[in-house]
Symmetry: D2
Subunit: 328 residues, 4 copies
Amino acid sequence: MHKIALIGAGRIGRIHAANVAAHPELQLAYVVDPVGTSAQDVAASYGAKVADLDGALGDASISGVIVASSTDTHLDFSLRAAQAGKAIFCEKPIDLDLARAEASASKFEAAKARIFLAFNRRFDPHFRSLKRKLDAGAVGKLETLHITSHDPSPPPPSYVAVSGGLFKDMAIHDFDMARWVLGEDPSEVFAAGACLVDPEIGKLGDIDTAKVILRTASGKLCVISNSRRSGYGYDQRIEAFGSAGALRAGNVTESTVEAWTEGGAQADQFQNFFLDRYAAAYKFEMAHFADMIARNAAPEIGYRDGVAALALATAAQASMQAGAPVAL
Amino acid sequence: MHKIALIGAGRIGRIHAANVAAHPELQLAYVVDPVGTSAQDVAASYGAKVADLDGALGDASISGVIVASSTDTHLDFSLRAAQAGKAIFCEKPIDLDLARAEASASKFEAAKARIFLAFNRRFDPHFRSLKRKLDAGAVGKLETLHITSHDPSPPPPSYVAVSGGLFKDMAIHDFDMARWVLGEDPSEVFAAGACLVDPEIGKLGDIDTAKVILRTASGKLCVISNSRRSGYGYDQRIEAFGSAGALRAGNVTESTVEAWTEGGAQADQFQNFFLDRYAAAYKFEMAHFADMIARNAAPEIGYRDGVAALALATAAQASMQAGAPVAL
Amino acid sequence: MHKIALIGAGRIGRIHAANVAAHPELQLAYVVDPVGTSAQDVAASYGAKVADLDGALGDASISGVIVASSTDTHLDFSLRAAQAGKAIFCEKPIDLDLARAEASASKFEAAKARIFLAFNRRFDPHFRSLKRKLDAGAVGKLETLHITSHDPSPPPPSYVAVSGGLFKDMAIHDFDMARWVLGEDPSEVFAAGACLVDPEIGKLGDIDTAKVILRTASGKLCVISNSRRSGYGYDQRIEAFGSAGALRAGNVTESTVEAWTEGGAQADQFQNFFLDRYAAAYKFEMAHFADMIARNAAPEIGYRDGVAALALATAAQASMQAGAPVAL
Amino acid sequence: MHKIALIGAGRIGRIHAANVAAHPELQLAYVVDPVGTSAQDVAASYGAKVADLDGALGDASISGVIVASSTDTHLDFSLRAAQAGKAIFCEKPIDLDLARAEASASKFEAAKARIFLAFNRRFDPHFRSLKRKLDAGAVGKLETLHITSHDPSPPPPSYVAVSGGLFKDMAIHDFDMARWVLGEDPSEVFAAGACLVDPEIGKLGDIDTAKVILRTASGKLCVISNSRRSGYGYDQRIEAFGSAGALRAGNVTESTVEAWTEGGAQADQFQNFFLDRYAAAYKFEMAHFADMIARNAAPEIGYRDGVAALALATAAQASMQAGAPVAL
């Protein structure tokens, strides 16, 4: 059993703690959180101990560290874990500041960091199946890509204020998805944004709706659609258009039950809460982390990927402000 | 242009009149109906004349006769048209009395009748596509069959009283469908009926709900489900289970539009009115009749088919009353 | 933590072992299996000990016993566990012999047995959602029910020979489902069976295909369709027709991915292996067993339900042999 | 019966001729085509006469003129028909030259032209149903719109060479659709194009793939996706995202038949040929033209709409060439 330290005992940290406990090769050893009661609560559930960061990183028996603390600490905590020689599972985004993230790359390299940037969508069974079929040539050569990513309802303005904005906070998932499915880096981004959902978001200088076009060096085109509020649930879809057909991953419903009444056939609700929608993805992420630790597997998503997604988000922001495409 | 006489200017007669007029090879010449104003109305719309039965049958220029009058006249009018040498398009059922229908067979044969029993479902593009794929071996050898046939809402008791009962009036379509898709005649029928929808129907000695199992000599099994009221629209479906898969024909919606709201994805309503649902089938029926007249095509559904469907309906009625399977 | 003994370390026993281990309130303490290596293997995975039946039942710290051994032992082992005062989780069917199962009822009562008959379909989230909506009146009063239950491919003849036959081995799930969804006991059954899939099954005196009609005292009708081989995957569907609409639970696909090519839109495969299809159901079963142990919850499915399903299977067998409906 | 002259007896002209003949209020009187045999063929089928343009326009009994000749003649023939006082049904696009189309507007106004620009998609029952539900508030206030319009396979280079380019030839339908569904005019367009399908198209200076973002003055955003070759059929879809949900119009399949095999559920093919896919739309277009003639209905789509769609296509072309958004 490989011992794991969890940094951050909030909502997502608790998910990871449960998945560590359920994994046959991992054991939760420490929980670190500035809010002592949170740490205590999570630790008690899984037979772990509460510790501070130095204590956890200083224990040589700890193989891996999960960084699920607030975004502004991701970079520093990951680097300290790297320098302590631990394998790292870091929540997205790596940071909100592209220059800082780029500047830190050499430090991670110097530490020979084994860091996994946990973009959950890449581990979702539906998107993974699409990617596998695409790579197997089911629809020929990929030409264009549509990603739809609409949240059920907007976050509170207090969250928006510290979120880094729609592109870095929400669309960053889609930028990573685009890179992964396209199989190459976009070389140009054009972003159109609007505040159509909640005027409070606009007052904070942010947007709640966006349509983005990416273009790669080889000429592939990708459209991303984002909204902070769908009004119909969590909308997470991909359409990949190839030279011999198209692949689509649709939304997941709560059940297969349909009600047929005078109005027509009504399907069950979409799975709305992201922790439910991506529950399987979080488990597969942890299985991958176990592979990194137990079998020295290379991380599927590394530091450079985290920087590349942040670079796209930063360029999208710049494009929107300039009203013109931005080259990368 | 081949001249046609229409007998019966009611709801279904008007559909056939329009399809005659729209067909490039057919021309509506006479309309016969005991209600003079109905006949006049239909005749005026399509440049035809009102006539009585003798007048229409006596005109040697008439190639075909459509019998769309009340059920109790189907047999007599068809026979008279046969004896006048006309091609016949006869609405279902051929009669409500099996003995009488069987006894008349020799008279039709004697007249070398060219009679087409117009079971609309066999000409529906959806069911026809299923049958074509089945015959092409898309799912191997057919083993069992499920037919669902539920009406949107029950007919008035006054109609039920003269309808011949659920099996002869409504399920007869499904008995014909079963024979057609199975490709052989059932040798045994077990029918369970109930009055669950409208107690008035029960007071008339009829049922409004039935589940029937047919078995063929080669061992194929078929289930038919009937209801006089679905509560959700016109439910007309087939599932054909073969040795290498299954084929299904589903319900037809008004449009492809879905509404996604908090409750889930809502499809558009099913096409509810049988004249809409089977509009294409009626056109294809008329094209087939034109083939019979213009190119001497053999009728796809003949007198013997009409009798066979009636025999199944009669046996189902007997099975229900006896509470036991009935052999055919 | 409540201690559990598992009897039977085969395929299904291993599923239950994993679910016990994953449940926060349960702990696997003993594994009993005549094949020592199987028991040892499962015990080692979850920190349990190998024991014989007497040893497991004799340990007063054991709260619950899972009977997942071969069918012919279900009744005896469950009774011994009951007499030892343990809560019981018993795999279906309770027995293959109705008379014996009925005769044993008084012994279970005498032992004040707390026994849960684990029909997995009642715990499937899809069917459970259908039942919940039905009970909430989403489609009015239930009138008729269609259950489709087709296996992907037939079992080997060696299994068929000791299975008890299609009705007791396979359709028994659907008889229990019918009782649960209908909300009342069928009073009559008519079963038509055939051997269409594998002649070897017929040589063993069994069938591989069946269509069954059930009728309840209040007049509800239910159709069950069974096949040992679908050719297209595991087909597990329900259609419930009510006075104001219908509810349907459809098949579960491996993912939401569709491939659009020249042939049309191809959905992903159905989940084919029953252990995958009902993985969630097994977890919910274990959660229910934990409720029985930790909070004295009444079993959702009891001994009498196991007997009632067996009685229906036995009556269906008799109906098929007699070629007539059988009253219950 | 109102008499109609048809100009252009090619593929689309023949569709309109049949719909005139089938309409109870319209009668095809003249067919005009430079290819005499084509004109003769169509005229003979529907009891019309062959004429030249002057002859047709000079006959005072002609109420309406259908301009279905080549694109470069649309403007001139329509204007001449307007000056002759005829109601006009003009195929899209009004012209390929925006300046010329704008300059002609005053001439049409001077002639008090009653001209209907026949964009078929607005008359498609599926899109019309979406628009009706949207206007009825089914999903609240419209915020963003996605239009997917992919052809089954690319036209021959010889067609591309005279087509006016992807934006004016193909996407012009989608620009009109966008204006119609959005309910307001876009004020900015950004277009990204690529040649991914057929290098021959690129050699002609055209593109075969495009993604376009439109923005309206009120802040609504619209994405259009175009491809000259889908590889899976004719893809014609709309997603309209509102403040309380979304409406989607999907593709139309040949039938409702599904084949279930080991690979999963395969739906029937998409309706691939635009004359089939929009067959109903062409009929509804003609019914609207009859309303214009018989009941003086205002054209649902007028000259200004034709110019506005052309202006958007022209701006999209300019945006693509400039690599920057273009304001309108």
